[in-house]
């Protein structure tokens, strides 16, 4: 048993060293960007979601609208800062943890269609305006009349108490 114990000890020490040596990444302070606006198809009868309902939709815990249509969650493409930003604000997770959560739910057989990935603001608006069950997001100053803006906890993005306001660490439109 000496060899296995030695190997285990080496592994434990290596892991501890890796942790200790991990560079501390300074938090980049960025000026607050515009709030995140949650958008759906214009025909969607839903006008308001609680923040908890929104979170359950993005986590794929809720997959159908109250009127029965399948929900299609639309996110910005992998690696784009707007994707990680929205996942952090809505789900409270890093992009990596979110991807693992989605795969875990898929592996359990609980997900029919996973989130869609969209490359641009124009693509997001185009998709949401075309797909009756879609829910997506853009910056509040990027919405147009082709989509419907949802209230979150009864508030629109111009409300100071709106829950999807960036608090100084967000990456707004100016950074793209």
């Amino acid at each position: 048993m000496r060899t296995p114990r030695l190997l285990l000890l080496v592994l434990l020490m290596s892991a501890a060293a890796l942790t200790a040596a991990a560079p501390l990444v300074a938090q980049q302070v960025v000026a607050p960007g515009p709030p995140l606006a949650i958008i759906v198809h214009r025909s969607n009868p839903v006008d308001n979601l609680t923040f908890g309902e929104l979170r359950r939709i993005f986590m794929l815990d809720t997959q159908t609208w109250p009127h029965g249509r399948k929900i299609t969650v639309v996110l910005r493409d992998h690696g784009q800062p707007e994707r990680a930003d929205a996942i952090r604000m809505v789900c409270g997770l890093s992009e990596s943890d979110y991807e693992k959560h989605i795969l875990f739910r898929t592996f359990q057989g609980n997900v029919n269609i996973g989130p869609r990935a969209i490359q641009s603001v124009a693509g997001m608006l185009n998709f949401v305006s075309s797909a009756p069950g879609a829910i997506g997001y853009v910056n509040a100053d990027e919405t147009d009349g082709a989509v419907k803006l949802l209230r979150i906890d009864g508030m629109l993005p111009d409300d100071p108490r709106y829950p999807l306001r960036r608090r100084g660490r967000g990456r707004g439109a100016a950074e793209r």
């Binding site: 399948k70 990596s96 795969l103 898929t106 269609i113």
Partner: protein
């Protein structure tokens, strides 16, 4: 230990299905994972197929002189799921187990489900599934990437690895959120053939593979509560019942009650589960056995230390599973995730069972997903 031998009929079916799935799935997979195409309105033609594979490479050593330290290949799980339309999806999990000494591969079809999703309150599935007994079995399947420690708790071991539970079944299941509970209360109800307890040496086993041994169906019902206020927390319970024919003897009434409490977030995992298994012959006393585990882990960046207390108490006189033995395992380890979709686990195990007291073992496992 109960170790069924090869099941050629099932494996031939699995190999055929695997080949068909890969052949059908490959072109749409490229389509499904191309981000640009999602800029267009919802595509309507080919079903979008998602394919993932889970694999592992293991190394283990014990202080038992008759068991040399060894590398080994773990299960290679090929997972395929496709949305046939907005409400219907199909899921398949095919597991291939290879020998470290040669390239012989044994293939098993572990899950195959067709699911109809009416809404969040009613999802109906037909096929082969992991039973919703307790929490672990329906949460963790054959790909070991999502499991923090190496290996399943003994009570949830797979049937062909000496497991005491009906981990897999063929039948129907319904699950969803209970209305008016904001998805906090969830249910599962299953009707299946039950586990086959046919003698593995019986030459007729493969002829009847997949069919029930009697007309009585197994049933399982469960409830789980996930309060929105405590994200990641879940408590639940389930009750399973089956009638098991054993040769010419009277039918055994088998019941499994399970209760659990779980708290799982990306950084913290605390899981506790306890099961009671009872087997009763008519005009005979009931044999009651228990098992469960307590598991905890906490991530510090890429490193996650963990601990599991794993216990299974089986009385020797119990029908069907009396020879499976009792065991208590303390397991402590550390998991390192050097990159997304790759994990390295190393753990020390101290085992007490019917044959050894205080056996030590070390197990290292590299897990990955692609």
């Amino acid at each position: 230990m109960h170790r069924p031998g090869p099941r050629p009929a099932c494996r031939a079916l699995a190999a055929t299905l695997l080949t068909a799935l890969v052949a059908v799935a490959t072109p749409p997979a490229v389509f499904a994972q191309t981000g640009d195409q999602h800029d267009m309105p919802v595509p309507s033609t080919p079903p979008e197929v998602v394919i993932h594979a889970f694999g592992s490479v293991d190394w283990a050593a014990t202080d038992q002189h008759d068991t040399p330290q060894s590398f080994g290949l773990g299960q290679f799980s090929l997972f395929v799921t496709a949305a046939l339309n907005e409400r219907v999806s199909v899921l398949a999990e095919v597991v291939m187990e290879g020998s470290g000494a040669n390239t012989r591969v044994v293939t098993d079809l572990e899950r195959l489900q067709l699911t109809y999703r009416l809404d969040d309150h009613l999802n109906l599935s037909a096929g082969r599934y992991h039973t919703g007994i307790g929490y672990y079995n329906a949460a963790f399947h054959h790909g070991s990437y999502f499991e923090v420690p190496i290996g399943r708790p003994r009570i949830f071991a797979f049937e062909d690895e000496g497991g005491v539970l009906p981990v897999h079944e063929v039948g129907l299941s319904a699950r969803g959120a209970v209305p008016k509970t904001a998805s906090a209360l969830r249910y599962v109800a299953e009707v299946g053939n039950g586990r086959r307890w046919t003698d593995v040496d019986d030459a007729d086993e493969d002829r009847d593979e997949g069919r029930d041994q009697n007309g009585a169906k197994s049933t399982n019902v469960g409830l789980a509560l996930r309060p929105e206020r405590w994200r990641g927390a879940e408590i639940g319970a389930s009750f399973y019942r089956d009638q098991i024919p054993v040769g010419t003897q009277p039918t055994i009434t088998h019941q499994i009650a399970a209760a659990y409490g779980v708290y799982r977030t990306p950084s913290t995992e605390i899981m506790a589960e306890w099961l009671q298994l009872s087997h009763r012959l008519p005009a005979s006393t009931q044999s009651t056995n228990r098992g469960g585990y307590l598991q905890a882990s906490r991530a510090f960046g890429k490193v996650r230390p963990y601990y599991r207390y794993d216990r299974l108490d089986i009385k020797p006189e119990t029908p069907l599973i009396g020879s499976f033995g009792s065991s208590t395992v303390h397991l402590v380890g550390i998991r390192l995730d050097p990159a997304d979709w790759i994990g390295l686990k190393a753990q020390y195990e101290r085992l007490h069972d019917d044959h050894v007291t205080g056996s030590d073992a070390v197990h290292v496992q590299l897990v990955f997903v692609f």
